[in-house]
């Protein structure tokens, strides 16, 4: 365990966290990085549904309209006043730049107005540390991050240190699910529909697995998505109706097989003592159940947060920011939101 910055170590914290990286405006109050006093999430999903996906300009507009109200609700629900807050945590990136800007400017304004430190926080660190809100993380730990924008295997050799061992080379898992859902005529966001349909089907149209080169922990899902579309076209050319349920099952099994196999292999290779499943797609039953079963076989403890902490939310940002708070590592008021930002460099 590293001892750097130990002289600046802070005692208990009450962090006000803000997250606006995509289409949820969220604010939370988190104590000591593990106790959620409030976690308000204002979803814009109904607004974006009619456009068939998130429209960045509309997301940014909605964030401005609701930001202070959501922050106030978070304080009210937590039963704390502005003056009780020790620091402001905010998602710096990655995400939609225009959306991130609103949260970052609001957070910097709060840090100035309340005269407290600012902690720019990595969104993926947030997803991973959502697990600390439900239990203790044992290191080294391996995190499987699956969401609409991310598919990553992250090794945490020790607390607050992130090493990416695998990532998608094209589509994220959630993205692949949504694209396949569109091909199967499900409304946006369609991922959960595909998951449900796959569970219901007894038939399976077996689709290829993208293992990539030997020893790689990277992922690729765009070929699989193309295989689904090709299968639909082939069937239609024959004048037949595609069996959507069997296709959904074939797609899901391919994704789940690759994702869980690579996660288990990486866990073994790096000696992980715990597996952390996180991100919005962690709600996917196919992935969740298969990974749980394989972890049990391997005797590897698995943590997975409840749905409210898996999808984008500010409490997870507060949980990750606590890593920096305890080490006295703060951001300047010139903090810049960034569409891309390195997780490894964000390590404590």
């Amino acid at each position: 365990m590293t001892t750097k910055h130990v002289s600046e170590k802070k005692d208990g914290s009450l962090l006000l966290a803000i997250e606006t990286s995509c289409d949820e405006t969220s604010a939370a109050v988190v104590r000591d990085g593990r106790e959620v006093l409030s976690n308000i999430v204002s979803s814009q999903i109904e607004t974006h549904r009619r456009f068939g996906g998130v429209v960045p300009e509309i997301a940014s507009r909605k964030h401005v309209e609701s930001i202070t109200l959501i922050v106030q609700e978070a304080l009210t629900e937590a039963g704390v006043s502005r003056r009780d807050i020790d620091a402001i945590a905010v998602t710096q990136g990655p995400g939609l730049i225009g959306a991130l800007l609103v949260g970052v400017v609001a957070a910097k304004s709060l840090a100035l107005a309340l005269d407290v430190p600012l902690i720019g926080t990595h969104h993926i660190a947030g997803h991973i540390y959502a697990n600390r809100l439900i239990g203790d993380i044992v290191y080294p730990a391996l995190a499987l991050v699956v969401s609409g924008g991310h598919t990553e295997l992250v090794l945490l050799p020790e607390e607050g240190v992130f090493r990416i061992v695998g990532r998608t080379r094209d589509d994220a898992v959630g993205e692949a699910y949504d694209k396949v859902a569109r091909a199967l005529f499900f409304p946006y966001p369609g991922g959960p529909h595909v998951d449900r349909l796959a569970q219901q089907s007894d038939e399976e149209i077996v689709l290829p697995r993208a293992w990539l080169e030997e020893g790689s922990y990277d992922f690729s899902f765009s070929g699989l998505k193309s295989a689904v579309l090709a299968e639909i076209n082939r069937t239609k050319m024959k004048g037949l109706d595609p069996d959507f349920a069997a296709l959904a099952r074939g797609f899901q099994n391919s994704v789940v097989d690759v994702v869980t196999t690579k996660a288990m292999k990486a866990a073994a290779e790096f000696g992980a003592r715990q597996l952390l499943l996180c991100g919005g797609v962690a709600a996917n039953r196919g992935i969740r159940e298969r990974l749980a079963a394989r972890c049990e076989e391997a005797g590897l403890p698995m943590l997975v947060p409840p749905m409210s902490l898996c999808s984008d939310n500010a409490a997870m940002i507060g949980a990750a920011a606590d890593l920096k708070w305890r080490r006295g590592q703060f951001s300047s008021l010139d903090l810049a939101a960034a569409a891309q930002v390195s997780l490894e460099e964000w390590s404590v």
Partner: protein, 267 residues
């Protein structure tokens, strides 16, 4: 609703004013017309990085006294730009529990012409103002480039540069159509037509307008205090939570969807 009437109008409140709708990050601390400190950073595309530390420095320069209210340009202008200013303003107003005054960024831009009309400042284009404008009204038309031949624009009338009357609402307009019609109306009304702001992209059109003057001025935060104080004195304060930019137009995605819906509705 923020309690905007903690002080009476005669109190001469100390206002933190800023606007980020254009390439200039303009900010000032003013007590009415008196400017305690001001900053103008030409940090295009960097407003989100600089704004809060700029405001912090500005408040220190102004003496660190507690401010009484916040005034911000709510647009129109760069979408991202106005969001930065509005997000900072409403968050500061909420956190400090101070009244929030929303200003038109175009009116703020128009005010950049005020010192020239008053004769406090001179430029080659304005040398003749002092003698000319006293005899006839001046129409000040602030413009910001909105691409594809469009401008965000409005129109204000003044005689002496200190009393202003709005003649046109903030809107997005085609300069090729709006410019000539303004020039014709001004000739009829005997008014002097003065365009202020992002002249460059529209210089060719403006040059064809007989008798029109073009002043390539940027937003001047030193002029924001008067506007802010006037609105505050009238009790024109915003609901902090509901406060939002004035983009003057829907997003492209909404326009496309809306057009479809309208066509269906008419059929």
């Amino acid at each position: 609703m923020t309690n905007g009437n903690k002080r009476t109008a005669g109190d001469n409140p100390l206002m933190l004013c800023f606007d980020t709708s254009t390439a200039v990050l303009a900010a000032s601390v003013c007590r009415g017309a008196e400017v305690l400190a001001s900053r103008h950073s030409h940090t295009e595309r960097n407003h989100a990085v600089r704004i809060v530390s700029d405001l912090k420095t500005l408040l220190e320069e102004a003496g660190g006294e507690e401010i009484d209210g916040i005034a911000v340009g709510r647009g129109p202008g760069s979408y991202t730009g106005v969001r930065i200013g509005v997000s900072a303003a409403k968050t500061l107003a909420w956190a400090w529990d101070k009244p929030l005054v929303g200003l038109s960024s175009l009116e703020t831009l128009a005010m950049a012409a005020a010192p020239y009309l008053r004769g406090d400042k001179q430029a080659t284009e304005t040398a003749a103002f002092a003698s000319r404008h006293a005899e006839r009204p001046v129409w000040v038309v602030p413009i910001m480039d909105a691409r594809r031949g469009q401008v965000y624009g409005a129109r204000f009338e003044t005689t002496d540069g200190s009393v202003w009357r709005r003649l046109d609402e903030d809107a997005i307009r085609l300069i090729g159509e709006w410019g000539p019609s303004l020039a014709a109306n001004a000739a009829e009304a005997g008014a002097l037509l003065v365009f202020v702001g992002e002249i460059g992209p529209h210089a060719a059109v403006l040059a064809t307008l007989e008798g029109a003057v073009a002043l390539p001025l940027a937003i001047d935060a030193s002029e924001m205090g008067r506007l802010a104080a006037a609105r505050l004195a009238k009790g024109l304060v915003e609901d902090v939570h509901g406060f939002a930019p004035n983009y003057t137009q829907l997003t492209e995605a909404e326009t496309k969807l809306g057009d479809g819906a309208r066509t269906e509705g008419q059929a």
